[in-house]
């Protein structure tokens, strides 16, 4: 099997439909002005024009999934006894994530470290992940907010992808990155791609050079500034504490588990949660260790740029996709905030709560 190929643009639909023969294909679909990853069906219109509003995260890690269903049953012979019957399903079909961007594909690798590469792997995520082939579209140029290069990725990064495609001459140059990816290359509409390789490389380099790099990836976060409530207060005062930044993030993986019961039957469901919500850390006693907005925001930044890297050999839990910037109701820019934290001249005094007093 070849690991290089070429797919003319007009064959995209045919390609996706061929992939869909034995797998559920998740693709960026246009609905009104919104691009959303949906399970592809023939009535949908795929759009690769810009990164989708949502990342493809939900294809492997759904916003809401049933972990198990339960039913309470009375035993006819001994009516005082109640049995509970449990059912769990991890028998997921094969799937393909088609048309995500390199930052989206890399997002899965961030979640893998927590959900798969551990001795207590999550069976739901793990099974879906194993069953999924990821075919990624490299970016021609960055979009508002993008900073993948600043966190060690790039618009042509291969990390997390099985196949990457680069736009060249009325079609896409395809390159298999993994064995799973090589299997895709045998589909009949894929032509020989070797003559496009050089052009694709050029396009990749051009795009990479155009992405902003807001901070040196290896610069350390100033612990003094990170601990300064005044700093966080100032950079976060405009935040409205919604879930847009976390629900649109390809790497956020926090969840909540609830039992949804109706008399004798019910389901235990897992749904995405957000550290930006006040309820996230609300304890049964009523105590909340992160009652203030700035403490929640600090957790989001800290998790991605400090706690996670400490635990996983320096890997950053942000792929720079820019969605949290692009879609934030009040244009909070995480790269600007991390930029302050990584500034070698960072000084908490500059952020004193009342600058009027500080100046005096």
């Amino acid at each position: 099997m070849a690991d290089k190929g070429y797919l003319p643009k007009e064959k995209i639909k045919e390609f996706v439909e061929a992939l869909g023969k034995d797998a559920a294909v998740y693709a960026p679909c246009l609905e009104g002005d919104t691009i959303i990853f949906r399970q592809y069906t023939a009535d949908k219109e795929i759009s690769l024009d810009r990164p989708a509003n949502t990342p493809p995260k939900g294809a492997i890690y759904p916003q809401c999934e049933t972990l198990l269903s339960f039913e309470f049953k009375k035993d006819a012979a001994t009516p005082q006894k109640m049995d509970v019957e449990l059912k769990a399903n991890t028998d997921f079909p094969k799937a393909v994530v088609f048309g995500g961007r390199p930052c989206d594909a890399k997002g899965f690798t961030v979640i893998d470290r927590v959900f798969v590469n551990t001795d207590t792997a999550d069976p739901y995520y793990k099974k879906r992940r194993e069953n999924t082939t990821i075919i990624t579209k490299c970016c021609n140029s960055p979009y508002a907010g993008c900073f993948c290069v600043g966190v060690g990725g790039g618009p042509a990064s291969r990390e997390g992808s099985d196949v990457v495609m680069t736009e060249v001459d009325g079609g896409y140059y395809l390159e298999a990155v993994t064995e799973k990816g090589k299997a895709v290359m045998s589909l009949s509409m894929i032509q020989d791609g070797s003559s496009y390789e050089a052009k694709a490389k050029q396009a990749n380099e051009k795009a990479t050079g155009a992405v902003r790099n807001p901070f040196p990836a290896d610069a350390r976060i100033s612990p003094e500034l990170f601990d300064s409530g005044d700093f966080w207060g100032r950079v976060v005062d405009k935040c409205v504490s919604c879930g847009a930044c976390t629900f649109l993030c390809p790497t956020c993986y926090c969840f909540n588990i609830t039992d949804e019961q109706a008399i004798t039957t019910g389901e235990r469901i897992r749904s995405w949660d957000s550290c930006m919500f006040q309820h996230f850390t609300l304890e049964t006693s009523g105590h909340n260790p992160r009652p203030a907005k700035y403490k929640r925001f600090r957790n989001r930044v800290g998790h991605k740029f400090s706690y996670y890297p400490e635990k996983y050999d320096g890997a950053i839990a942000c792929t720079g996709c820019g969605r949290c910037i692009r879609y934030c109701p009040v244009s909070v820019d995480i790269s600007e905030i991390v930029g302050y934290l990584k500034d070698p001249k960072a000084d908490p005094k500059q952020w004193a709560a009342d600058k009027k007093d500080a100046k005096n």
Partner: protein, 316 residues
Amino acid sequence: MSTQKLKEIIKQVLPDVETVICWQEGYDKLNVTPIFITSPEQVDQVVWNPLCAQNLASYLPSQKKKVAVAVKGCDSRTIVQYMQEGLIDRNNVVIIGIPCKGTVSKKKVQKAIGNEPVEEVTFTDGSIKVKTPSGEKTLALADVCPTKCTSCQFPTPIVYDQLTADAIKSDKPPESVYADVAELEGKTLEERKAYFASQFDKCIRCYACRNACPMCVCQDSCIAETRDPHWITQKNSLDEKVMFHMIHALHLAGRCVECGECERVCPMEIPVAKLKKKINKEMKDLFDYTPGVNPEDKPPMYTFNVDEAKIKEHKL
């Protein structure tokens, strides 16, 4: 011109207040973002242009001390409504009013320029010029403004302490306000159902629309996500999404000041304000009440008359 005046006013009021809430340039030229000014050096960062679409009045109820806030005509309705509902102390707010000729929807601009990165933005009277790597594009403001600006009745703030420019009058007919609702009403029930289903199906329950809404006062106690009691399931089925939007809309009945924040902030580009406008229109017909225009008014849902002029329940 009025930007200069705005900066002057801010410098003048700053010593008397804790913070002045205004706009500054955001992460790129097509974005502005709020600035909370506490020192005179920050005043230079202030911007005022049609990108300043965000309703800054929403921050007022959470402010503990005396603050000043820059508001457009539409934003001032939020303040009026807060006054009606006792959510702010007027003595603790200095209102810097900006007569406004219309804002810009960045989503519409982005679409018009093919989502290219923005290098430069300039405004001339009635148009916006955007520079991208592939060239320059000039767009008429009327083509890229949010829906609310097409029928704006209050270009000059209703309440203010200072104005940055001479007051201007609306040139839009009052009937235009509910033109989009009338269009929806012209559709059959089935068509409307299908329309809302296709829109709300895109919702990710991020609650940006709720948290950005100046009149959503429950916020962290919203029944859509309280955990104890666990009123509503966390499932992301269409029914649950619609349920959340119905709650938001009904809680805004006769309170929605039509600022359009819910719609502006929705990352999934759902026309979330439509339902609320429809209810507002009903409230107007029923109680002859428009939210956020007269500080002396009492919101209809805050009171009741034994005999309502247009409700016939006692005369069965």
